[in-house]
């Protein structure tokens, strides 16, 4: 174990959890991320190895697939973000690269992103104030790119209507959280 102590994207030693009205905003710090991109012409091998390695099908565009230990959501043509527990998969990029070999490019993304989980019955009201996603029809295991407070984010629906994950660039965690918090307060005021 090395000597450097991690801090969260919001700059604290512990993740922030806030309850505003019926909404809970949770800073999530225990997930590891890596991008997985198919190499040119490797379709067959890539798909087989990905299935063998991840244990899940790689989702289509706009979708996610929740699994254990790996989950995935689509981020671009032939590209996915792979998610796993940080405690058990902090070396997620190296692990995936080792398994995928030359069929894929793998890049560590764990600390590129901050993640806030938004749960509560007013979650749709909240996201209506923040992004142009048709949130009320967004089904579980759908994921999409969107802008929140001018910040490019991924919005991942975990449970339709009540639980969403927002992944934004880590450096903007404070601004992103502020936007979520203000929207939650605004919703709570009605």
């Amino acid at each position: 174990m090395h000597k450097l102590k991690a801090i969260t994207a919001l700059g604290a030693s512990e993740p922030k959890v806030s309850t505003i009205g019926d909404m809970t905003l949770t800073e999530v710090t225990d997930r590891a991320l890596a991008s997985l991109s198919m190499r040119l012409g490797q379709d067959t091998k890539f798909i087989k190895r990905a299935k063998d390695t991840l244990g899940i099908e790689l989702p289509d565009s706009g979708s996610a697939n929740l699994g254990s230990p790996y989950s995935a959501f689509w981020i671009g043509p032939d590209s996915w973000m792979i998610d796993a527990s940080y405690a058990s998969h902090h070396a997620i990029a190296a692990d995936l690269k080792s398994a995928m070999q030359d069929t894929a490019s793998v890049v560590e993304q764990t600390d590129g992103w901050c993640r806030f989980d938004v749960t509560g019955n007013s979650a749709c009201d909240l996201f209506e104030r923040l992004c142009n996603v048709d949130i009320r029809t967004m089904q579980a295991q759908k994921a999409t790119r969107c802008a929140i407070h001018h910040i490019g984010c991924y919005l991942w629906c975990i449970e339709a209507g009540t639980r969403f994950a927002v992944l934004g660039p880590r450096s903007s965690a404070g601004s992103l959280y502020h936007a979520l918090e203000e929207a939650a307060q605004s919703i709570g005021a009605r």
Partner: protein, 986 residues
């Protein structure tokens, strides 16, 4: 109900709930359900404002958002809101309203002296009167005019309220909740479609709430309430009362302002005052109704002269009448409805003056068929009107209010927001929506020219069925209830030609019939010119009650028909939108998001001064106790770094991960210089060109494997370079096996620079990694571990010109790493340095940044011409060879030092020969960067100088003609420090 002398019975107001309010400091009482206008009328107040130019007394004209006259200031302090239409200001207990545009009081406004000079203040008088002397315009005339003009005022305090923005989605957006809108929403809602029904009123129902006729066996308002109740019970229908759809934009997107808290003294805690919604609709039906138009006649602007439909609304909905004795002036049957309803309410109707010779008789009052109103009297409110009968006799009628109806104009505004043009309907004598509508929009009800209640309900349902059929949703119009279906019976009549006095067309802008005629006389015959010359149709109401009158007069002047005369362009917003609403949450520090570096928390603890670099906040310098000037801090940081070791957070530089079998070939095409042969474990400086051959960005590429590079970019161009590379990957060379992704945020990266940098790093880099000069030479890179096993990347690169490294760890450890570096570096007096010291050291070393790679310079200008490899192709290679970019005396990057060391080199100044004129023709170049070098004890600069490479040692002048300064400077090498590069290779 004390004081409510003009309050009638029944209506849709709550007679059991009184509300207190003030107008110009005087206390009144109104009822729940009132608007400010209806409450004032109920209290016998007809005078509500002063006109824009002549300060003439004005009262409320309408009962809706088209109101031109009754503009007031609401609230006080930071919440003071000017130009609020009293007709849509929902009354609440404690409301404070002030009249505006008057001094010292509404009753006695001294600025009304303007009215005496009205002969001089006609249309275009500014342009004619204030031509001479020319210099007086900016210094005298304009300031005086600006002080005199204008309507309301603001307090100048910050608005304490918050405004939200939001996004809604639906199958069908129904704009307007009158009979057509309710019918459309009901049809679509019952079919299961996702429906949004928006209406600017706080009570849904539109004219159903203002009319007395029944729908089936119930009052129109009761049917509306019943329908709203059914719609409210549907999960698939969203009702948005108090919401004005203000614009129709591309792709079925509509802008709408929802007023959440305008009807309260102040918003609740955290509650937004308003929300600006962007509504993404698959289809939309415009059911915006129609606006009644006046008939202009001499002195038609006295308080008490109102639209007939509005008088009917006040009586039926708000149980208020402007006066106990009302006359009606009309050219159509609808005016007669007002008379009938007022009589039924017990209001005395003095007469109906109908311009039609065949006007029908009316029970309960006299109807003057073929007559006209030719004048009015009453200083602060109407007292009498003078009429000329069909037989030519004149007669005076005592009345305190005159209800005027010139017919109804369909509200076509949103149909024209994408350049559609309305078309003329002869039967209605009005414009109706044209054939070119915004895609996905259809129109129903009065907005489409279906002016009867039955017609509105029928077309509303029909348009909804058609719209949903397009979406594959089957809907059937329910059985329509029995409703009024009277034909439009109207004889166009625009203005009275008899009589003396000014006949007002646009009451908000004080434009008269005579002004329109004058504009024509002076050859402003296009309607667009007419609008701008006379100001007709401008300001907060955008001419909703006046445009047609102006067109009619202009048509008469030109001898053309009204449709031939045409209309001006309707543009969003439909009604005024507050700037705060458009800004939403993006105000103050939240104007844009902030990006914080991994060392931000630690830097804050050190008292760092931050600067904005795009969205990034970067430490600019770290002041220490006793330092009173930023230069002291910066000089100390520079000297400490060059003499021992300094640390700077460079995380903001863009980092792009490039992988794939063809990664090297890809970079060879992206960069001007070669990368194919870069060994694994090495870094190379690279220069990118634009396609036109101009330098684009510079940075480094580190090769971690045969198929894996990490590219760095400048902070400013991180996104742009990534986008450019992604474009090249996808569109230019899709056959290359390359994958890209940004990793800027994923790694915390610090520059560790100075002669002791290696010794410092050796204390934290784990022992198994040899970073000696032999094992890890200049431009080496590698994956290592630090502090007992933390994964890291190490690059031996230098921006400062010193022995230097950049070390990166996963971002979550960035805070801990800076603390570890500081602790380990104590024995070397390690110093954190900010962007200012970074800048000083790069200027001392002659390294280019955005100041030099400024969008106009080439590799040749930068002294990097030989980097553009001719052995391979790359973006910009061919066009960099253009003759114009390769002149013999082309600009070259040079260093500049003042001849007199006490003088200063300033960036932005231009370079001139030592002797000769100072003008553009003799310009020799310009200074791009300047700093004080504590190492040289002098101001220094970088700049581009013609043929600069051959002019080292020459003394030239640095001039600033704007401020009249001249400094003699010596041309020197751009590398002020360690020109041989010995330090960085040490």
């Amino acid at each position: 109900m004390s004081g409510q002398i003009n309050r009638l019975n029944s209506g849709l107001v709550d007679h059991g709930q009184s509300l207190n309010f003030t107008f110009d400091g005087k206390s009144y009482q109104g009822l729940a359900g009132d608007t400010l206008a209806s409450a004032l009328l109920a209290n016998g107040v007809r005078l509500m404002g002063r006109s824009f130019k002549y300060h003439r007394p004005r009262g409320v004209l309408t009962a809706g958002s088209e109101e031109p006259n009754a503009l007031v200031e609401l609230r006080q302090g930071g919440r003071q809101e000017p130009n609020t239409r009293a007709t849509v200001a929902e009354l609440y207990d404690g409301l404070e309203a002030q009249s505006q545009n008057r001094w010292p009081s509404l009753q006695r406004d001294l600025m009304a002296v303007n009215d005496l000079f009205s002969n001089f203040l006609t249309a275009g008088f500014y342009y004619k009167t204030f031509m001479w002397p020319k210099a007086f315009w900016e210094t005298l005339y304009e300031p005086i005019i600006r002080r005199a003009a204008g309507l309301g005022s603001v307090s100048g305090e910050d608005d304490p309220d918050v405004y939200d923005k939001g996004f809604l989605h639906c199958d069908l957006l129904v704009i307007g909740a009158g009979p057509a809108g309710l019918s459309a929403a009901l049809t679509a809602g019952r079919a299961g479609a996702r429906v949004i029904l928006a209406d600017e009123d706080f009570a849904l129902g539109g004219r159903l709430n203002s009319e007395s006729f029944a729908i089936s066996d119930m009052a129109g308002s009761a049917w509306a309430a019943q329908t709203v109740a059914e719609l409210t019970s549907m999960d698939n229908v969203r009702l948005l009362p108090r919401t004005t759809v203000v614009g129709a934009f591309d792709h079925g997107i509509y802008g709408a302002v929802e007023r959440i808290a305008d009807h309260k003294p102040q918003p609740g805690t955290a509650e937004p005052r308003q929300i600006f919604w962007r509504i993404y609709s698959k289809r939309a039906v415009l059911c915006a109704g129609a606006t009644e138009r006046p008939i202009a006649f001499p002195n038609n602007d006295r308080p008490g002269i109102m639209m007939a439909g509005a008088v009917r609304s006040y009586a039926n909905r708000w149980a208020a009448t402007p006066h106990e004795r009302v006359a009606v002036f009309t050219n159509n049957d609808d005016g007669h409805r007002t008379a009938t309803d007022l009589i039924a309410k017990g209001v005395q109707v003095a007469a109906v003056i109908d311009t039609r010779a065949d006007a029908p008789a009316i029970d309960g009052t006299e109807c003057f068929a073929g007559a006209q109103v030719i004048d009015s009297k009453g200083r602060l409110g109407l007292e009498t009107v003078t009429i000329r009968t069909a037989q030519g006799f004149t007669s005076e009628i005592i009345c305190g209010a005159l209800a005027v109806s010139g017919g109804w104009n369909p509200n076509v505004h949103l149909t024209c927001h994408q350049r559609g043009r309305p078309q003329w309907n002869e039967a209605l004598a009005a414009f109706v929506p044209g054939e070119s509508l915004p895609i996905g929009l259809s129109v129903a009800g009065a907005a489409a020219g279906a002016l009867s209640t039955h017609g509105a309900m029928e077309t509303g349902a029909a348009r909804a069925v058609e719209a949903l059929a397009d979406l594959g949703i089957q809907a059937t119009p329910g059985d329509l209830p029995q409703a009024e279906d009277a034909p439009v019976n109207l004889q166009p009549f625009w203005y009275v030609k008899d009589g003396k006095g000014r006949a007002w067309i646009d009451q908000q802008n004080d434009v008269t019939v005579k002004d329109v005629k004058l504009a024509h006389q002076e050859n402003f015959v296009s309607v667009e010119h007419l609008k701008r010359y006379t100001t007709l149709g401008m300001a907060t109401d955008q001419g909703k009650t006046s445009n047609m009158g102006g067109l009619a007069v202009m048509a008469e002047m030109t001898g053309k028909s009204i449709p031939e005369t045409g209309t001006t362009i309707f543009r969003p917003p439909y009604t005024p939108v507050a700037m705060g609403t458009l800004a939403g949450r993006a105000v103050g520090k939240q104007f844009h998001p902030t990006r914080k570096t991994p060392s931000h928390k630690w830097a804050t603890e050190q008292g760092a001064v931050f600067t904005e670099v795009g969205d990034w906040l970067r430490a600019q310098w770290y002041p220490r106790k006793g330092e009173t000037h930023w230069r002291q801090s910066v000089d100390r940081e520079v000297l400490a770094t060059r003499n021992s070791v300094g640390v700077c957070d460079v995380t903001t530089l863009g980092k792009i991960d490039v992988q794939g079998a063809d990664a090297a070939e890809f970079l060879n095409k992206i960069y001007a210089n070669g990368f194919a042969k870069l060994p694994v474990g090495k870094v190379r400086y690279g220069l990118m060109l634009r396609e036109d051959g101009i330098a684009y960005d510079d940075g480094t590429a580190a090769r971690f494997a045969e198929d894996h590079f990490v590219v760095t970019t400048t902070t400013a161009n991180a996104v742009l370079v990534y986008r450019q590379m992604e474009f090249a990957r996808q569109c230019l060379w899709p056959d290359l096996d390359v994958q890209l992704i940004s990793t800027t945020e994923a790694w915390a990266q610090y520059a560790v620079a100075g002669p002791n940098s290696r010794r410092l790093l050796q204390k934290i880099v784990d022992a198994e990694f040899d970073i000696s000069n032999d094992a890890f030479p200049f431009m080496a890179c590698g994956e290592i571990t630090v502090c007992g096993g933390c994964r890291a990347r190490l690059f031996r690169i230098s921006f400062s010109g010193e022995l230097a490294y950049e070390i990166a760890v996963p971002t979550r450890y960035g805070d801990a790493l800076i603390r570890a570096l500081m602790e380990a570096g104590e024995e070397f007096d390690v110093t954190p340095y900010g962007t200012e010291a970074l800048g000083v050291m790069r200027i001392e070393k002659g390294h280019a940044t955005g100041n030099e790679i400024n969008g106009t310079t080439t590799a040749l200008n930068l002294g990097l011409g030989r980097m553009v490899s001719k052995k391979k192709d790359c973006i910009g290679n061919t066009l960099s060879e253009r003759g114009g970019l390769n002149e013999p005396d082309a600009l070259r990057l040079v260093g500049l030092k003042p001849v007199n060391a006490t003088q200063t080199v300033t960036a932005g100044g231009h370079l001139m020969n030592k002797d000769g004129p100072v003008d553009a023709a003799h310009d020799q170049g310009y200074v791009t960067s300047a700093a004080y070098s504590p190492n040289l004890g002098s101001s220094i600069g970088l700049g581009f100088l013609k043929n600069g490479a051959d002019r080292i040692g020459e003394v030239i002048r640095l001039v600033n003609p704007l401020e009249g300064s001249e400094t003699e400077v010596e041309v020197v090498s751009a590398h002020f420090v360690d020109p041989e590069g010995e330090r960085l290779r040490a």
